[in-house]
């Protein structure tokens, strides 16, 4: 049976691992390749690299990290951040990524999703959707670049990008990111029910119970978490054991 996945996420900036709260106040938390090796040894099911390097010139640092990780960790890698062109996708796949995450560009350039899926296969095009809870509590898709958002409703936007060819969705609650308050289960469930592709919950996991909640309440295919694995004594090994006991179908052995 297909297992539910545990995916540690690593935020990268100029070749280093950083951690922030609500996408700001980033502090250095170490060497990403070292962190990736630890997660690999713990039997993480996949790794998610998100690059937030602002300057185009320093973007090469990302490729080096992906290459070095792929040389050392024989596990699935999803890489995103600043992906704007087919050439960006091609370079990341050649460096060793298995899937490429398109976030901001997906909002303004639907052709990128379409052509990316045609050229590289829909299974390697992942679209990142970030959302906030608006004043009336309604979930709304946001753009970090301040670009216009073609569809505010996360579920409808998720459906639209899958029609364009996205093979997977990473859904991140901006309000919860780095807060350890738990995933936004309600919005996540809406998105899971709206699309026929796998959905990865991101943003807010602070306890192992939060991971279980995402699987059992929102029925996601995978959970992504950063803080919980970086800053608490919880490891992927403990998470797997906890989830297994809770009845979640995770990989039983390494």
């Amino acid at each position: 049976m297909l297992r539910k996945r545990i995916i540690p996420s690593l935020l990268l900036k100029e070749g280093r691992c950083v951690k922030g709260v609500k996408f700001a106040d980033h502090r250095d938390v170490g060497n990403p390749v070292t962190a990736a090796k630890v997660y690999d040894a713990q039997g993480a099911d996949e790794l998610l690299f998100l690059d937030i390097t602002a300057s185009r010139e320093k973007r090469d640092t990302l490729f080096h990290v992906v290459e070095e990780t792929a040389e050392n960790c024989f596990m699935p890698l999803t890489v995103g951040g600043g992906v704007k062109t087919l050439e960006d996708i091609r370079c990341l796949l050649l460096a060793g990524a298995d899937k490429v995450l398109i976030n901001t560009a997906a909002l303004s350039d639907s052709e990128l999703i379409c052509q990316g899926a045609t050229q590289f296969g829909d299974q390697c095009i992942v679209v990142g959707i970030d959302f906030v809870r608006g004043r009336n509590g309604q979930a709304e898709v946001i753009s970090h670049a301040g670009a216009p958002v073609p569809e505010k409703d996360p579920a409808r936007w998720a459906r639209r990008v899958t029609e364009l060819g996205a093979g997977e969705i990473v859904l991140t609650s901006f309000d919860r990111e780095g807060t350890r308050e738990g995933y936004d289960l309600e919005t996540t469930k809406c998105v899971v029910d709206a699309v026929s592709v796998p959905v990865i919950a991101a943003g807010g996991a602070g306890s192992l119970q939060h991971l279980a909640d995402a699987f059992q309440t929102a029925n996601v295919s995978a959970v992504s978490a950063g803080s919980i694995f970086h800053f608490t004594d919880q490891s992927v090994i403990k998470a797997r054991a906890f989830l297994k006991t809770a009845g979640v179908n995770v990989r039983p052995y390494l």
Binding site: R3, F74, D98, S196
Partner: protein, 205 residues
Amino acid sequence: MIVVVDYGMGNIRSVSKAFEACGADVTVSSKPEDLKKAERIVLPGVGAFGDSMANLKKRELIEPLREEVLVSKKPYFGICLGMQILADSGEEKGSHRGLGWLGGRTVMFQLPDPQLKVPHIGWNDIKVVKDGPLWAGLGRKLDFYFVHSFHFEPKNASDVAATCNYGIDFTAAVLHENIFATQFHPEKSQESGLRMIRNFLAWKP
């Protein structure tokens, strides 16, 4: 020396690094003369069926591959697309001719349960139906990493080496004389995948 065939289809680097980590002397190449020198041939592949066949054709690799694998009987390891194109035809974005080495078709998942998501992404356990040296040392550690929307239905059921269940039973691996291929990615399947690669490197079909 083993050749990992480079025909512009995806994760060549991950595959060659995994084989190197298992002690193989790897040449990444698209040259027929390298295929001739190779002791073993690995055909990886991520992407679309039609593109992969078009790329093999453009690089004039189809005949040299046929020569080395079907005539000289060199051990062949196809991964993902490298398995799917063993079919006569593939139905990914139109209908395309495959290598046809094993016959059969590569088709999209039609799953009875609408709750099941496609692509089939993640770790799934397989059932070995044709045991042998390629599965040595794996014991019950038979979880491998899959990422695909299409699957291979070989013409002869006797070529199926392992199956996987995702709403339906589909072909996870095939074995026919010197041809071995998997739908899953051993180069991404941590310890179990590396073990399988080592088994392939030691394999004498």
